[in-house]
Structures are given as structure tokens and as C-alpha cells.
């Protein structure tokens, strides 16, 4: 029976892959749209899986996050607290005692499990950053519209593994898959500015981000717009273009919501 199962395990993916290739070559040339979200890929995976790919992408992203926290999926969310930010991220912390721990006699199974399973809140160090990348890669491949996967993978590539060129290539692919997304455009611009000192291309990317943000309505994208405006003002000031700086300030003052006043203030301070 195991032999039959193993033959099936090899045959089924092979069948899916070859059929997918056949349909892709035939339908992509006709401009056949397979899924409103997935675009005109003509990929059998898009036809069959649809939103399942998004769910798989999210699951893979969670796996990557677990890897960043030493393999623990349930690591608690304290990313904004000072205590967590002050962690020495390069070392395993002393294992935390679970809150409201019952006595060993009342719940021996839990007591034993707590002692056996790792529980501390840790972060992966720079040297181990490459361990997360396979999961981000899988998340990007599984779900080409998972913005967070592209953004996080690019961040790790550029800042933790010192591979900014690969990060740019990845972001280009992400932008190609999500042409109206502001976040990826800003990430691309930041990498161009920080790692390549290519301020001209960075400014063009921020400008593209700002223009894309004009079509977005959600509050998060308003923040992205503010970020783009801030950098555009910053770059204008850097090349001593006061007219452009004033123009960006005016736009910021007129279009930004009151809760984003800090960005406006920053632009004004820069003047």
C-alpha cells in the first residue's frame, strides 16, 4: 500500500504541474482572467486554489514569524513595548514562567508540558536571518498578492543578510504583481536611498508611491502617503530645491489628516 501511495504522491504533483503549464501557455495568450485577485496569469493553481493561495501565504508568513521568534508560534505580542524593544536579540532569554500557572498537582500535564516546551520570547539574530528566508520565499511564491511577505522578505534581505540587490529584485516582482500598492513602492525607494545612495531613482519611486496613494482611501494608505510626502520633501531639501520643498509642504498641509500632523511638522522643521 505504501508503494502505491508513494507513486500517487509523485504522480499527482506531476500531473498538476504539467496541466498547469499547458493551460498557462494557452490561456495567457488569450488574456484569460482566472481570478479577479490573481490577475491574468492563466495558472491552473490560480483556477483551482483561488483564495486558498492567500491562506497558504498567510500561514507561511506566520511560520516565518515563528522562526524569527525561535520556532514559537505562540510567542506573545509585545513588539511595541519598551521591554521587548530592549531585548538582547542575539541570545535566548531565560525561559519565562507562564502567567497564572496552576500547581503541579492540579494540572500535572500542563506543568510537564511547560517544562518540556520552549517558551521564552526571543528574536533571531543577524547571523541566523537566512533561516527565515525559505518561508518568506514560499509565502511570496504561494501568494503573489501577499504584500507583507514581499515587504518583510525585502527587509530581511536588505538589512539582515546584506543583499539589497536581491531585495530590489523581489520588490520589483512584488510591484509587478501588485501594481497599485504603495507600501512596496516605498520599501523599494527606501532601499534605493539607504543601500544604493541612488537618490534620483529613490525620488522617482517615492513620487510613484505618492501618485499611487492618491487612489487609495484606507487610513493606512494615508500614512503611506504621508511617508512618501515626507521623503519627497526630505530629498527636495537635500538637493536645495526650496521651491519643491515648499510645494510638498503645501500638499502635506492641505491633504494630510490632522492625526498625521507630526509628518507635517517634520517637513516644516526641515525648512
Amino acid at each position: 500500500m505504501l508503494l502505491r501511495l508513494s507513486i500517487l504522491a509523485l504522480l499527482i504533483p506531476g500531473f498538476f504541474y504539467s496541466t498547469s503549464l499547458l493551460i498557462a501557455t494557452r490561456s495567457a495568450s488569450c488574456g484569460y482572467s482566472v481570478h479577479p485577485q490573481q490577475g491574468k496569469t492563466g495558472n491552473l493553481l490560480d483556477i483551482i486554489a483561488g483564495d486558498t493561495r492567500t491562506i497558504i501565504g498567510v500561514a507561511l508568513l506566520e511560520k516565518a514569524d515563528a522562526y524569527y521568534h525561535g520556532g514559537l508560534a505562540d510567542h506573545g505580542d509585545c513588539s511595541v513595548t519598551t521591554a521587548c524593544e530592549e531585548h538582547d536579540h542575539d541570545h535566548h532569554h531565560e525561559e519565562a514562567q507562564p502567567a497564572n500557572k496552576p500547581s503541579a498537582w492540579r494540572d500535572p500535564w500542563r506543568t510537564l508540558n511547560d517544562q518540556l516546551q520552549a517558551q521564552a520570547h526571543i528574536h533571531l539574530d543577524r547571523e541566523g536571518a537566512e533561516e527565515i528566508l525559505p518561508w518568506y520565499w514560499a509565502a511570496c511564491e504561494a501568494s503573489p498578492h501577499n504584500i507583507q511577505a514581499f515587504e518583510a522578505a525585502a527587509y530581511i534581505l536588505a538589512n539582515m543578510t546584506e543583499k539589497p540587490q536581491e531585495a530590489l529584485t523581489l520588490l520589483d516582482r512584488g510591484i509587478q504583481n501588485n501594481p497599485y500598492n504603495v507600501t512596496l513602492e516605498i520599501s523599494r525607494a527606501e532601499i534605493l536611498m539607504k543601500h544604493f545612495n541612488d537618490f534620483k531613482k529613490a525620488e522617482m519611486a517615492f513620487l510613484a508611491a505618492y501618485q499611487k496613494s492618491l487612489h487609495e482611501q484606507a487610513p493606512k494608505d494615508d500614512l503611506e502617503k504621508a511617508k512618501a510626502l515626507f521623503y519627497l520633501g526630505h530629498l527636495a531639501k537635500q538637493r536645495h530645491d526650496l521651491a519643491a520643498l515648499k510645494e510638498w509642504q503645501r500638499i502635506a498641509r492641505e491633504t494630510m489628516s490632522p492625526d498625521l500632523a507630526s509628518i507635517r511638522t517634520l517637513l516644516e522643521i526641515k525648512e
Binding site: Y67, G71, N113
Partner: protein, 259 residues
Amino acid sequence: MHTLRQISALMRLSLFDLYRRKDLVVVALLAVVLLVPLSFATPFGVKGASRYLNEIALLLVWIFVLVISMTRTARIIPTEVESRTIYPLLAKPASRTVILFGRYAGVLLASLSVLFLFYFLYALINNLKSAFFPWEVFLQAFFLHAGFIILVTSLALLGSLYFNPDANLSVMGILVVSMFLYGQQLPALAAEHALPIRTLIHTFYWLAPHCELFDMRTRLIHHWPAVPWSVCCMAFLYALIYAALCFWAAAGLFNRKKI
């Protein structure tokens, strides 16, 4: 002494049976087919990642050993009855309990030998690939995995005297996997319910096999420090006591069974 000789003869029978059937070869080939292409992958052109490979390898080890040990144990008695080979065994001057124990111990030994083989290969490949290998955690992981196998095989043995092999595998598979995934969440689930159901969930929590205790994969893959050996021994002791109770119940059933 005579009983021991009988048991060892029955154990040898099970052990040879496993290696004769080539299940292990198929499983090992399947693992190679899955793992070798993955080992050549360089996501984003970055080399050096190994934890994902270790995780997949260990997951395969867990699945394969669980499948082999449970299918083997679930078919000990039903296959003997079906093929009528149980009668020559029963005709021998050995009690039914000795026969059951001998056959069970044989399957358990065979499963543990498979486990040892897989862990040996895991350690060998890891030692060749990376400079650091957490030996102590590795040994603890193997020790607890062996405890897990003792636990699930005893459950499958008990189930084989209640259900037919397919139903037994389904029921025990669901029980083991559910406890593995949600065992520690049962008290929280109980707290959300009113009294009769809460008591029911609590009773189940106390009686069901806590398979989740034996999973040390996260510690091994992510290089967490080892746990005290006394804690490991307690978990192993739990597995032994649970298995002994299951065997005792299975022996009681087998002794009363009309064949």
C-alpha cells in the same frame, strides 16, 4: 526463562516481518525524493538555511514512524486471526498474555529500530552539513519520541481488540493527532463551557494520552537549551505507565476473546 525465550521468539518474528516487507525502503525513498530537491534550494540566492530542511525532515520522521508503528500494531491480532495463524500460536504451551506481549514487544522493537535508523540518519546528515549539533537535545528528542511510540503502539494494540484494523487506525489516528495538536488547549476549552460539558472535557483531558508532551522538535531545530533529564524521565514514565495500562486492558480482552 522459558517465558522469556517464548517472548524473544515472537519478537524476532515481528522484527523480521517488518524488514522483509520493504515498507521501510519505500518510506526512506519517499523521504529522499522529498528532501533532496529541497536541500538544493537557495531561496533568493541565499545559502546556509538549514532549519526548514530539518523541520521537514523531522516532520517526515514523525509521520512515517507513526504510520509504520500504528499500522503494524493494529494488524497484529486481526491478521493472525484472519490468516488463521493464531491457532498454532495458541496451541503452543504459552499463555495468551505471553503471546500478546511477545507480538506487541516485537512490533514495538521493530518500530523503535525504524525510529533509531531515522534519527541516526538525521544526526549523520546534520553533522556532515553543520559545525554545531545539539547532541543533548537530540538524545532527549529521541528518548521522548521513543516514549511516544510506546504510547501509541499500546493504544493501537488495545484498539485492535475492539475495532477492525481500518476503524482502529482511523479512531486512534484522530485521537493521537487531536491530542498532539490541541491537548494543552482542553482546559481553556472546558472553562468556556457549562458544568456537564466542562466535567466531560476535564475527564477527557485527564484520561486521554498526552502525545504533545513528547514533541521536542522546536527545541532541536531552533537550538534551544536541553531540559533537565528528570523532566524527560517523568514524561517517559508517563508513557510507560499509560502503555502498561493499555496492555493490561488489551490482555484482559484478549484472554476473554472467543477465537
